[in-house]
Symmetry: C2
Subunit: 106 residues, 2 copies
Amino acid sequence: MKADALRGHLDAMLLAVLEGEPLHGYAIIEALALRSGGELDLPTGTVYPALRRLEAAGYLDSSWSEAAGRKRRTYRLSRAGRKVLAEKRQEWKAFSTVVDGVLRPG
Amino acid sequence: MKADALRGHLDAMLLAVLEGEPLHGYAIIEALALRSGGELDLPTGTVYPALRRLEAAGYLDSSWSEAAGRKRRTYRLSRAGRKVLAEKRQEWKAFSTVVDGVLRPG
DNA sequence: GCTCCACAAGTAGAGAGGCTACGTATAGCG
DNA sequence: CGCTATACGTAGCCTCTCTACTTGTGGAGC
């Protein structure tokens, strides 16, 4: 699957995987691969800048920690992020309904 | 609806509205608005370049005609376009399944 | 000891494609 | 005579994702 098609929907997916629990960047990539049945294998050059963008927008908070000698930046959903996630779920639903309707043969 | 989310899926929708009958650019925009229940109101600056791109790729053929004193460029789906449309329908299905799966709460 | 891979974070620069804002032109209505 | 709908088009911007790269630790295999 061309991950480029994500354009505009990646933010929603990042917020969604952080809904249940805080995760660090690398774990987010793995969580997305897991949830998508292996379809999504996002490059770090896509995910890390996106996370920073979402933090700058106030939808995520982050903090550094250390585990097994490795530094991790763990992200968690902010209150604003939770709200935006709900909106983006709605938007996705509306969007996919529209595309389904247009693409349906006949 | 933010039409920017279309990114990467516009081509499929353009090919889809041309599946049943050839249409000219302006009519394509109207057809998309109709099929989407008014959700899609694409600017000409989005649609016209996209149509030319699809023609350059060999997925559409075009010809000029004149109706009511106005010149129209009518586009029709080529054999290659029909094939690509079928592929893009599959891609969309796979894509929306993945996003649904990731966005689903829990 | 050395190499390679998994883990972990990041940046720089390129490319694609949709958007805004224009420009051009005809027909018809008030 | 101006406004709106019809009809086509381009230029330049902007955003986001991608490729390719850098930096560093820990553990497994040889």
